[in-house]
């Protein structure tokens, strides 16, 4: 279980609950797909996950090629190996989906997520928050006399660790982008 305990909207099926300890053969896979950037393409992808009962643990999408109208969707999903295979095959059926890559299977990849984290406090807690942010190479992007907003980039686990540390120091609000990922190497 992730140690995140955000009250609003949190549930046992939190999108950040990447590791389900109850299902031993459940694996987390990072899928990247290149799609036509056309109306409804994201709805097709997430509708597939919702309709067939697959998990979405994290989702990012943005246009990557303006002239070619291509977007890249990165989804972190989890399930037994057979379900992961079925998810990829089903994604491949969607007409505006050009490529589906399983970055977890296709060798090493880099995965990064960005988070903005607001921490409010005074005195020693405020100093401690700043000191920990420095250790995590997190930047302060906004501050008031009572608060800092930190920007942190890293793996989801690093962000989990940072938010866990910030909680007793006055964590107010958090925004996470979800995982963006690329395979390592030249191609």
């Amino acid at each position: 279980m992730s140690a995140l305990r955000i009250k609003k909207g949190a549930s046992k099926k939190s999108a950040y609950d990447l590791h389900n300890p109850n299902a031993s053969d459940v694996q987390s896979h990072t899928l990247a797909m290149i799609v036509d950037n056309e109306a409804g393409v994201l709805a097709r992808v997430i509708g597939l996950f919702a309709g067939r009962g697959y998990n979405i643990d994290s989702l990012t999408v943005a246009e990557i090629d303006h002239t070619g109208h291509h977007s890249r969707i990165t989804i972190v999903t989890s399930g037994p190996p057979a379900v992961i295979e079925q998810i990829k095959a089903q994604l491949g059926r969607i007409v505006p989906v050009h490529e589906v890559h399983d970055l977890t299977l296709e060798g090493h990849s880099v995965e990064r997520e960005l988070a903005l984290i607001k921490v409010a406090g005074a005195g020693e807690k405020r100093v401690e928050a700043l000191r920990l942010a420095d250790i995590f190479r997190s930047n302060v992007v906004d501050s008031t006399l009572e608060s800092f907003t930190f920007e942190i980039t890293g793996t989801p686990e690093k962000i989990d660790a940072f938010t866990d540390l910030m909680r007793p120091l006055g964590l107010v609000e958090i925004a996470r982008t979800g995982v963006a990922a690329l395979s390592r190497g030249a191609k």
Partner: protein, 584 residues
């Protein structure tokens, strides 16, 4: 040279360029510009249905019986939402359809305008792909792409949503050849190493079986020919799903009959006991597999399918081959012949001996009745009296559908149109209309139950208006027969809502629609009644009163494997366990 024309004209032009000769549809406000263009030309016939669901099923019947895409034109809002059942039906059974729906003008989208619905949103999960066209300059290209996507790879329904202002706007027409279709090109050639591996399995197999499905028919008549050649040359027994009937002839010596929940004993036993299962264009549907963890426990399973998502979805296979059935069977035959046409003859002889023992059980036998027409008898007589005709059969959904699959014999592909995956009551009558439009001179019979028939019976008016001599062969038990059968099996024969009171008089109904009907209750009159139906030059409703409480056997009860079939004389008490009871 690009031609300038209105969006409405482009729609009709694109249909002509795609070789469309029939459109099934229903007009209203947002579709009127296209309907005006339909009015101004004579190449494309428009069949006015009485409900948009009927248009989609008619297009399915047209598509299934010709191999060409069926085309539907409906208006916005309710016109589009009424197509949803048909679209889902076509998606599950892989039927190529191009449905055009009109939409409120682009500037009204999102305002809850009159007859506005989020059609692409509603139909996204029940189409292979869909488009909302916001610019007349894109319309022709989208139309051509729609036909390409519907008919390429695993076929399926697509929908093009066309706002009314786009129909009026002028834009440049893109021809079929210039349209961008390069991106969507599913793989058709199978991996030759995998095919060679399958040949090696074929050479050694002791107890092989071909398990074929609708994919063979979708791949075209060439695929059925290749399948026949392969089965004939290897001597392997062959069974088929409901959707695949006719790909291999029922008169063929290796034919086992249909498999599955109401499949033949010999077919299901062969599936259970085989050592090599060659799945050709079928998808291990739950009606086929029965209990998954006891499915054909000792076989090596090979699967040929054009859709990678059909592989390892329900049953893990040992040797998947992704490709078009026709292409793969051609390569398979070539490699098998080149390697010396080897089969394991002695083992095969023993296997056929075992199959003959199963056949001897005569699983389709039933107790005849001199007083009341047995539904099985009615279909046996229909088979006997139409065997020589080039006959197209559609069905509704329920017991009659299963009996039709068991007792009617199909010698050729594209002659059997039924709702397999979705199980849509109300499919058969409109489907028969679509088939008859495609084959004006052929004998087209809808085998129906009285309950299913009533779900789209308004389409009798369509049949009469377009002089389509479709024969409605109703097996009338005054019950929802399959529901009642399951209530026997699962709910202590408490027949909750599974009977019909105040049924219409179908003969008078035929009269009201302006066609002919006849009621038959005595087995002795049945042949004469069928002969009258066949001879009548026009739509005909034959109301065959059959046994009220007849169950359809053989049956694999829910949650049981292939070798645990119920036969006609078995008790239905406790046939289904608690786990099975939760299944559908």
């Amino acid at each position: 040279m690009t031609r300038q024309m209105t969006g409405a004209k482009m729609v009709v032009q694109a249909l002509k360029d795609q070789g469309v000769d029939v459109v099934f549809g229903y007009p209203s406000g947002a579709a009127l510009p296209i309907y005006d263009e339909i009015f101004l030309q004579n190449d494309i016939r428009h069949v006015l249905v009485r409900h948009e669901q009927g248009a989609v099923h008619a297009a399915e019947g047209y598509a299934r019986s010709t191999g060409k895409p069926g085309v539907v034109l409906v208006t916005s809002g309710p016109g589009a939402t009424n197509t949803v059942t048909g679209l889902m039906d076509a998606l599950l059974d892989s039927i190529p359809l191009v449905v055009m729906s009109a939409q409120v003008p682009t500037f009204m989208i999102g305002t809850d305008g009159f007859q506005e619905a989020d059609t692409v949103g509603i139909t996204r999960p029940c189409t292979k792909h869909n488009w909302l066209v916001r610019d007349a300059d894109d319309l022709a290209e989208v139309m051509h792409q729609a036909f390409h996507v519907a008919t390429t790879g695993r076929p399926g329904p697509v929908l093009v949503d066309i706002p009314k202002d786009v129909q009026f706007a002028t834009g440049s027409y893109t021809t079929k050849n210039k349209s961008e279709t390069a991106h969507y090109q599913p793989r058709v050639k199978g991996d030759i190493d995998a095919i060679t591996e399958l040949v090696a399995l074929i050479e050694k197999a002791e107890r092989p079986v071909f398990y074929t499905g609708g994919g063979v028919i979708n791949s075209g008549t060439g695929a059925s020919q290749l399948l026949r050649e392969l089965v004939g040359a290897t001597g392997f027994p062959i069974t088929s799903t409901l959707m695949g009937l006719g790909a291999y002839p029922a008169s063929g010596e290796n034919w086992l009959g249909m498999l599955g929940m109401h499949g033949l004993y010999e077919a299901n036993m062969a599936m259970h006991d085989c050592d090599l299962m060659i799945c050709v264009g079928a998808r291990f549907d739950d009606r086929i597999t029965g209990r998954v963890d006891a499915f054909s426990p000792n076989s090596t399973k090979a699967q040929i399918d054009i859709d990678p998502s059909s592989i390892n979805k329900v049953i893990q296979v040992d040797l998947p081959i992704v490709g078009d059935i026709g292409h793969v069977l051609e390569d398979l035959l070539r490699v098998w012949k080149a390697r010396g046409r080897k089969i394991n003859k002695d083992a095969l002889r023993a296997w056929h001996g075992q199959i003959d023992e199963w056949r001897a059980l005569k699983c389709l036998s039933y107790t005849p009745d001199a007083e009341i027409i047995k539904p099985q008898y009615a279909l046996e007589r229909l088979q006997a009296l139409t065997a020589d005709a080039d006959r197209y059969i559609t069905t509704e959904v329920g017991q009659h559908q299963m009996w039709a699959a068991q007792y009617l014999h199909f010698e050729d592909p594209n002659r059997w149109m039924t709702s397999g995956g979705l199980g849509t009551m109300g499919y058969g009558l409109p489907a028969s209309i679509g088939v008859q439009m495609a084959h004006p001179d052929a004998l087209v019979i809808n085998v129906a139950g009285e309950a299913s028939f009533q779900m789209n019976l308004q389409e009798m008016a369509t049949a009469v208006q377009f002089r389509l001599p479709v024969k409605q062969f109703i097996l009338n038990n005054e019950r929802l027969g399959m529901v009642r059968q399951w209530q026997d099996l699962l709910h202590g024969s408490r027949y909750s809502q599974s009977w019909s009171e105040s049924l219409p008089d179908f003969v008078k109904l035929a009269d009201a629609f302006g066609c002919k009907g006849r009621l038959v209750t005595d087995p002795a009159d049945l042949d004469d009644a069928i002969a009258e139906m066949l001879a009548y030059d026009g739509p005909f409703i034959l109301d065959v009163m059959v046994t009220k409480h007849e169950n359809c056997y053989p049956m694999i009860p829910s949650g049981e494997p292939h070798n645990k079939m119920l036969m006609g004389d078995d008790t239905t008490e406790d046939a289904i366990g608690t786990a099975g009871a939760a299944l559908v």
